[in-house]
Structures are given as structure tokens and as C-alpha cells.
Symmetry: C2
Subunit: 335 residues, 2 copies
Amino acid sequence: MREQLTVAQAGEARTIAAIRTAAPSSLNGDDAAVLEVTAPNSRHVCSTDILVQGRHFDFRYSLPLEVGIKAVTQSFADIQAMGARPTAVLLAIATPGDLPLKTVADIAGGIHEAASPWAAELVGGDVVKSKDLVISLTALGELAGPAPALTLDGAGVGHQVIASGHIGYSAAGLAILQHFGSRRAVPQDDPILQELVEWHCAPHLPVARGSVARAAGAASMTDNSDGLIRDLGLIADRSAVCIDIESAAIAPDEKLQHAAECVGGDAWKWVLTGGEDHTLLGTTDTRVPSGFKAIGRVRSLTSQVAVDVFGEHTDESAVLVDGTRPQFTAGWQSL
Amino acid sequence: MREQLTVAQAGEARTIAAIRTAAPSSLNGDDAAVLEVTAPNSRHVCSTDILVQGRHFDFRYSLPLEVGIKAVTQSFADIQAMGARPTAVLLAIATPGDLPLKTVADIAGGIHEAASPWAAELVGGDVVKSKDLVISLTALGELAGPAPALTLDGAGVGHQVIASGHIGYSAAGLAILQHFGSRRAVPQDDPILQELVEWHCAPHLPVARGSVARAAGAASMTDNSDGLIRDLGLIADRSAVCIDIESAAIAPDEKLQHAAECVGGDAWKWVLTGGEDHTLLGTTDTRVPSGFKAIGRVRSLTSQVAVDVFGEHTDESAVLVDGTRPQFTAGWQSL
């Protein structure tokens, strides 16, 4: 019965106390949190995301703990994509009064779990009442030392295109959940489907790939949030280059192919447009950083591509697969 | 007709472009924003707030521009309350698709207007779709040099209690709006009512009161967000002291008395419990900083008060007015 206590019944002070118990930090609890600079010549990096229940997460698919984990993964990916190291997270929640207090505590617990490998803490937040459950996460990070951040405009002709981790797994996991209608309906005896669902619901990414890439001399970077073609298109657009991916380097693996057969999906669509993997994508003119693989080359904008880019205003058209327009180019649309 | 274009019709890219036009910053537009440290031995300070339409703001009362101004005032007050100087703001919006694009742009314009006196910019954000309009603002600031931050636990027996700016004006303005039902129904020919409404809808606070107080040796600080007794109660509770306010120093002025007569309100209730003034409250054992006035003394917790505090768990009971329990002690409740 205790678990059914709602946030409205608990009230503000007890709700905040539950969050702070689930995600303790001695930096939390004043008007604002004070963050030390740990390395000389450092700069601070910040990014914010806002997630709406039913649109960005769904409790039929994900546990509240997983929602917290994924929110941090997503936010910290933006920090890593600058070549920085996440240091802290702020959580603002707008919640219906009838939400169980435990749900809020579990979301905070997920945030704590995902932030801990970085030695990052939940250092502050806000809780208010609303009709929808809305979670806003702000990630803070440190760009140590004077080397430049890994920006979207840093790609140059001749660079190798690099990527960390799986591509398309999150989209496959979502397709599996949508196919079976709920988490528990996904066959328990199919470890591949279970694994892909896990990648969608609670991705645990290796720590520090972004700062490793920066240290290894990478030139540009973003994270795979809106889809491979869409996100590389942003780098291509800002850098005024063409990015040519080798299909062999990103081809759906056996797990994605298995999932596509099970749910009647298209594994190539997941790879090219899925997004939400929050793995890192970038370019380098030196060696491929550890934890990354080469997936293509940066080329100059051909006149044909340039017309597409500037004529149709579709930056995706500056991304090619094996030298031609990819089969799928769409991606996540927020509005 | 152009003004009726909705965010859904505009789409994500154009909505973000409208925000960036209304609140331009060269730090905005990558995965995350990079903030330079401007002074040696500085620390960064961060705080987040989340505002829900109908609960924290109401377009019958406030223009979208004013909502943006007030959101920054509120967020920057938290930064100032640490003795820090605001440097940047992040904006995350969850919005119904039918919200006019101009509304979003005006909110961003208000953010820009309120942040500009600090040389602070809107450096990043997120826009998503939702049923309610929800705005999450994260403020970042810099605590320059090695002096400690102004925390809630810094009050000591014998300190003067200090306050900057008006107390109760925001609550009076809200009461006026609620009495007349809409902004335009407030008598145009009553400059006092108009002024108080303005303090509620778009408070413009003096820049740098928090960092001035820190430089002047203040010991503890918070902002008047949830109500005078409630917020001073937080300092009293964390510092394990009793705060005794002089009624003469906070007594409703003629403007508040006039408003109370007009709308049948209680001006003392506005002063003691209103909140949302976002002026600064603190204590000092040296001189009163410029821009502040002394409003009381910090005393030791008497045994009676201690019983109240720890027996009833009402930290407000450690705040007295003229040595006795204040007439009103409630304050804003988020849940």
C-alpha cells in the first residue's frame, strides 16, 4: 500500500526527499548547486532535454528506473558529443498529482544509476504539478584543458567518419515493443529481442567515449539521437561537406535481421533513420579513437549535392551511402 | 495571418529558428553550449525551474514576453541567492502543436530581454510536443573567486536579517488580476494597481544584488520565492537559528494598502506568505549591503521554538515577527 502513495498525498517536501534519497548528492539542497572546476583551463558545457510521457517514454514499455537511465544517457550524449565529460545533472519534473511517489523516486534512482559511472550527481531540481508527466533534464559537463570542443562544423574533406557502438538497436527495440504491445508480451525466450528492447529502454553506453575522441584528435562530433542520416546531415550541413557512408560498415547485423523478421520491420530503416541510440558520430583526420569504428569518408560537396542541399533545404541530402542517396532519410521530428 | 502560424505548422527547425532569432547567441546551436570561465578560481552554479501554463503563468494575465521575463527573473534569483552572477540560460519547451509560433518567439524574446542586463544569453534548449504548455528554464552562473557561496546554513546568532526590494508586490499583483479576472479589466487609470500587476507579471530586478551581498560579506541568502516566512524559515531551519523580523521594517506600504482596499485582500498576508517577489533575503554579521535593508535579527532557538520545529516539523515556526508567531505562515506549495 505504501507504494501507492501519490505525490499529491506525499506533498512537495516528501517528494523532494524521496528524490534526494534515491539520488543523493551533497551538492543538492540550496538555491542552486555549486560545481567545482577540476582541471585548469576548463570550460563548462551544458545541454537540456525535455521528455513527455506517451511521446518520449511509455510505462507500458519502460520501467520508471529505465526512463531515468535513458534520460541521462540522452543528456550525457550531448555533453560527450562536445568531447566533454559529464559532471552533474539537474532534474525538473511536472507531474500529475496521482503519480505514485515511487515512480518519481525510481526515475531519480535511474538518473543516479546512469550518472554514477561518470562520478556525476543529481545536484538540483524542481517538482511541480501538471496534467502530463514531463521530465526536463539538464546535463552539465567539463571540457578539460584548452583543446577545442568537438563541434558540428569541424568535419573536413578526407576525414574518416567514425561511430561508437550499435546503430539501429534502439529503433529495433521500439519496433519490437510496438509489435507486441507491451514489455511483458515480448517473448521471454528470445534473448535477441530482449536485448534489443533493453537497448531501447535503458541504454548503458561506455563511459568517456567523447573525451577519448577529443583526446585522440577527432575533429567533429554529434550523437545519434534523431537518426544516422539526419545527425550526420547536421555535421555535413554545418561543415559544408558531403559525408559518404560505406554500407558494409553499417549493415544490419544478425540481431537486427532477426528482429526485422520477427516483427516484419526493415532493419535498414532502423539503421538509417532510427536514432535514439545516443552513440557518437564524428569525423577525424588522424587515427580512429578506441571504441569507435570507421564507417565512411568526408568528401567535397558535389554540385549536384549542393543543389539538393541549398535548393531543397534538406541537409540529409549531403549524406550518401556508397556514393548514392540513401534508401531512407527521415528521422525524429519533435514537433 | 502570419502571426497565427502554429508551431506544428512551422515544424521543429523553423520553431527553433524563431527562438534563436528572438534570443540570439553564438554559443547556441551545437549538441551542447560551451561556457568560458571568466575569472580565476571560479566555480559554476546551476539551478532549474519548471513552469506549467495555468499554474505558474496565465496568458489572461501575462503576455508571452512577460512569461519569459519572469522565468528568467525567477531562475536568476536562485543564482544570485548563492552570491553568484548569472551567465547563461537554457530553455526547454513542451508545447501543444496549436500554440502560435509567435508565442514561443515572444517567450524567447522575454528571456533575451531579462537576461541581457547580465550579459547572459540563451545558449541552448529543446522543443517537444505535449498537451500542456510547460517551460523549463535552467540558469547557469559563475561564482567568481574563492570566497564561499551564500548558502542557507550560513545564518548565525546576532546577524542582521537583510532584504532587497519589494516584499508582497507580486502577491498583490496576482490578487488584483484574480479580482478583475483579466489584465485588461484592471483599471487603466489606477497607476498603483497597474504597477503592482507589472511586478507580478514581469518583475525587473536590479542586477547583481547577490554578488554585491557576497562581496560585502553576507553570510546566508535565499530568494523570496515561496513566501517571506517560508523562505526565511528555510534559512532558520538549515542554520538552526530563530529569525525575528521587525514588523515595522516589512509593514505593507501605501501601495499595498491601496490594493488591499481595492480588492478586499489582506496586505499583511501578501507580505508574509506571497512569495514570487524573487527579491533576496539573507543575513549578515557585517554591514548591510547596498540595495538591501535590515528587517530583523537572528536569535538563538528558544526551547519553545525548538519544540515547534522538531515536534511539528514546521520550519516556519522558527521565524517570528516582533518576537511572536506571525499571523500568516503558509506559502506556495508545488504539489
